[in-house]
Amino acid sequence: MTLTETILCSKTHEYISNNEDKNYTVGLTDYAVEQLGDIVFVELPEVGASFNKGDVFSTVESVKAASEIYMPISGTITEVNDNVVNSPEILNESPYENGWLVKVDFTGNDIELSDLLDYNDYTEEVK
């Protein structure tokens, strides 16, 4: 099974991938990083910070422009990926593996998950 078969994507181009229990990895889809182009700056929140679904939790800047990144589910940050802060190009090279942004403990209602699309539906959506 490949990673893209297990992720869920938001219409604002973030994905989540379940780790264990209520812990999820959050990142940007391959479509998003392709559209952004060369990424040169990533700002991430602190561990422990809490966000509601739809809150801005990160800013990613490409050569072209700055983009706000929205939390696809409500959650509390348990880990941030310092590698992408130090080497933002990892986001372009490996959005689903090395280029993830944060890990969160999901604190929302399961209805939030049903708003998200599986990868196939998502790629149809952005075609």
């Binding site: 182009g37 060369d38 040169v40 700056f41 700002e43 800013t59 800047e61 050569v63 072209k64 422009a65 700055a66 933002p88």
Partner: protein, 372 residues
């Protein structure tokens, strides 16, 4: 549904086939990148790049008062131009502000070519007409009939040689000639800080010339370049972008362009009093170059601070691929204590980040000339 129709150059379809990501630029549907802005940028600095800049405007000025007319509308001394010589100019208004910046080429006595910004063609032509009432001149806007291809980078010269171009050409000159039986005007100018050429030709030959250049450029690693890298290249070279760094309320003196203005020009020109007064007595604001001391990216309109006081705004900024740093041009209050090396702050998303004032250009230019 409203369908917005954008203008296209003759290379539009070819560029899409090459995989270009397209954007709206000044009403034109133009490529912003082909592969990656950083890769394209670095290739121009190291090898060469091919730019379609056909959206830019070409206006011919002819007639017996051409020289006097041009001397009325720009601070530069057009009488200094010999045939084939070009000069970087500003189109000033009565207050010394800029209607546009442009390059004026002298083709022959009483015949000049003006290359102007795509976003300003209509304003410029109106301006020329309004200013020409007392002069016997003919203003011929040929922007829709000509295409313009730029070959820029250290290998640009070799690529043109490979195509059979055999003229020895000085920087900032233009030659009327033929290349592979196509009538062209070749000027040794550009907007990257590198050596290079701009080839102006009739629309009907644009695709053929593009293909010839791509073909001749293969062994020199020539790549097609989008507007994204065009912007990062010009920013590193600290070349102004009209609309960002220049506008109708900014004078060339404030913009750091005094070097381009002769102090001994006897003819009157639009805004001369203001400009000469500023050269003598200084200005309230000035253009600076800065580099960020962190990874934060300065962007157009971000605020600049010094000692907790807002002193200005960024006008162009972003990542500089050749430097692996974030740089910007900004207008700030003309305070004595602000010098090369001073630390100031840029407001990025409600937070202040340190930046240092550095000299312009940010990278060394490789076209052996002070001119733009």
């Amino acid at each position: 549904m409203v369908k917005i129709i954008m203008k296209q150059t003759l290379l539009h379809d070819k560029q899409i086939k090459l995989g270009a990501k397209m954007v709206d630029f000044a009403g034109w549907h133009m490529p912003v990148q082909f592969t990656s802005i950083i890769e394209e940028h670095k290739n121009v600095r190291k090898n060469a790049g091919l730019f379609d800049v056909s959206h830019m405007g070409e206006v011919f000025v002819s007639g017996k008062d051409s020289l006097n007319f041009l001397n009325k509308i720009v601070p530069q001394d057009i009488s200094k131009l010999y045939n084939s010589k070009a000069v970087y100019c500003q189109l000033t208004n009565e207050n010394g502000g800029l209607v546009d910046d442009l390059i004026i080429y002298k083709l022959e006595d009483n015949k000049y070519l003006l290359i102007v910004n795509a976003s300003r063609i209509d304003e410029d032509v109106n301006w020329f007409v309004r200013n020409s009432v007392d002069f016997d001149v003919y203003i011929d806007n040929q922007s829709h009939n000509y295409s313009l291809l730029a070959v820029q980078g250290p290998k640009a010269d070799s690529i043109l040689r490979k195509l059979g171009y055999n003229l020895e050409q000085e920087f900032f000159t233009i030659e009327k000639t033929t290349l592979n039986s196509m009538d062209v005007m070749v000027s040794r100018t550009g907007y990257t800080g590198e050596d290079g050429y701009e080839i102006m030709l009739k629309n009907k030959d644009a695709v053929k010339m593009w293909d010839l250049l791509i073909d001749a450029g293969k062994e020199f690693s020539l790549m097609p370049i989008g507007l994204g890298a065009r912007d990062t290249l010009r920013l590193e070279a600290a070349l102004h972008l009209y609309g960002n760094d220049l506008n109708e309320i900014t004078t060339p003196v404030e913009a750091g362009l005094s070097w381009s203005i002769p102090k001994d020009k006897t003819e009157d020109y639009n805004g001369k009093n203001v400009i000469m007064n500023q050269i003598q007595n200084g200005t309230d604001k000035k253009l600076i170059g800065l580099k960020m001391l962190s990874r934060a990216v300065p962007r157009h309109e971000y605020e600049v601070y010094y000692n907790h006081e807002k002193i200005g705004n960024v006008t162009s900024g972003g990542f500089a691929p050749s430097l692996n740093e974030n740089i910007a041009l900004a207008y700030v209050k003309n305070l004595k204590e602000l010098k090369i090396g001073s630390t100031i702050q840029i407001m990025v998303r409600e937070k202040l980040y340190d930046a240092q004032i550095v000299k312009r250009p940010f990278v060394e230019k490789h076209n052996n000339n002070k001119e733009k």
